[in-house]
């Protein structure tokens, strides 16, 4: 599975706005480049990123060929309850990666 780095605060106060960061290794081949022998290199990118907080979708992004390699996504959410935040990336050629982090809300 692809290497991913996620950053979620381990603890937060109820109602606090927290920063969530997700970085994943992927070469994001655009599908527009040619090899040294002239053949088109097939597109191979991550197409979708979804983040769920205790099962509820809180963030979604569609990625395009213009997205740089090793996409980094940062966003904010409100800490409502303790639980698990799940990250899911899907893409071309059956690419799929999942990570999760626990958060404790007091």
């Amino acid at each position: 599975m692809a290497r991913a780095l996620i950053s979620v605060p381990a603890k937060a106060a109820r109602g606090e706005i927290i920063t969530i960061k997700a970085l994943i290794s992927h070469h994001m081949e655009t599908g527009f480049r040619h090899s040294t022998t002239g053949e088109l290199i097939a597109r191979d990118i991550i197409t979708s990123f979804v983040c769920r907080y205790n099962g509820e979708e809180i963030f979604r992004a569609d990625l395009s060929p213009a997205t740089a390699a090793n996409p980094f996504i940062a966003f904010y959410t409100r800490a409502t309850e303790s639980g698990t935040i799940v990250f899911e990336w899907t893409g071309d050629n059956g690419f799929s990666a999942t990570e999760q982090a626990a958060i404790s809300v007091e």
């Binding site: 290497r3 960061k21 970085l23 994001m28 980094f72």
Partner: protein, 252 residues
């Protein structure tokens, strides 16, 4: 084609004084600096994670991992990257860190060498380099065996080459406070290698960076692992002595 902005000039044609040595980090935009500073956003950390996994992975017919001899890298590899390239007494030559890793693989793991710029070799080098983050680069001239190599590297650094007839020193010693096509000319301080270059969309070694520069000068680049590149690396480390290691750095 070479546009040089006017600014106060440093002493032309000489070595950069210690109090004026600056990492390329200082010349970057705030956004790129922030990307490097936060391990959660620094893409070089992906290679560090890969390197850590390789450090513990048994390899070769000896079926040994790096960790089986060297233990925890945070202790055993701390400061190592700050003193490479180093002199190898058995081979009687200077070796850079990638060559040392491959020698270790050949001799102690009975494994094949990892190719230059391969994902595995870059990951291991980055992981080892990361253990020295914040430590000052050692002065390689303290080892008398290395002085001839440093001098050879200095000669290459100062020699005009390529169709543009430029030397490394003309940009990186004489004009580092100016701009080239709108971008700052750096001092060429080797604090962050292997580093994540946004232009590369990946991690690359100092040798790759030097070869890039040589292609820009329209010179024939030295081969990976050649003694010329190792001597240049060594001289550049001497130029950067005292500056702190940033591996894995992020550069535009």
């Amino acid at each position: 084609m070479v546009a040089l902005a006017t600014a106060a000039s440093p002493v032309a044609g000489g070595e950069i004084p210690a109090d004026q040595r600056r990492s390329g980090y200082d010349l970057m935009r705030r956004e790129t600096q922030a990307m490097q500073d936060d391990d959660a956003s620094n893409p070089g950390m992906l290679w560090v994670l890969d390197g850590e996994a390789l450090w513990r992975l048994k390899a070769g017919t000896a079926n040994k991992a790096c960790a089986d001899c060297h233990g925890e890298a945070s202790a055993s590899m701390r400061g190592v990257a700050a003193r490479y390239p180093a002199f190898d007494a058995a081979g009687e030559r200077a070796l850079d860190l990638t060559q040392r890793i491959n020698l270790c693989r050949n001799e102690h793991q009975n494994a094949t060498s990892l190719p230059y710029e391969s994902k595995e070799l870059l990951a291991l080098t980055t992981y080892i380099g990361r253990q020295s983050r914040g430590l000052p680069i050692a002065d390689p001239s303290a080892d008398e065996h290395l002085r001839a190599s440093i001098d050879a590297g200095r000669q290459i650094f100062n020699r005009r080459q390529g169709q543009l007839n430029l030397s490394c020193a003309q940009c990186h010693d004489d004009n580092w406070d100016k701009q080239l096509a709108g971008n700052p000319i750096t001092q060429g301080q080797v604090t962050g290698y292997p580093l994540y270059r946004l232009e590369w969309q990946g991690i690359g070694s100092l040798q790759r960076r030097i070869r890039n520069c040589m292609i820009g000068m329209r010179a024939e680049p030295f081969d990976y692992g050649s003694s010329e590149l190792v001597n240049l690396e060594l001289f550049m480390r001497w130029r950067s002595r005292g500056l702190a290691i940033e591996t894995p750095a992020v550069r535009p």
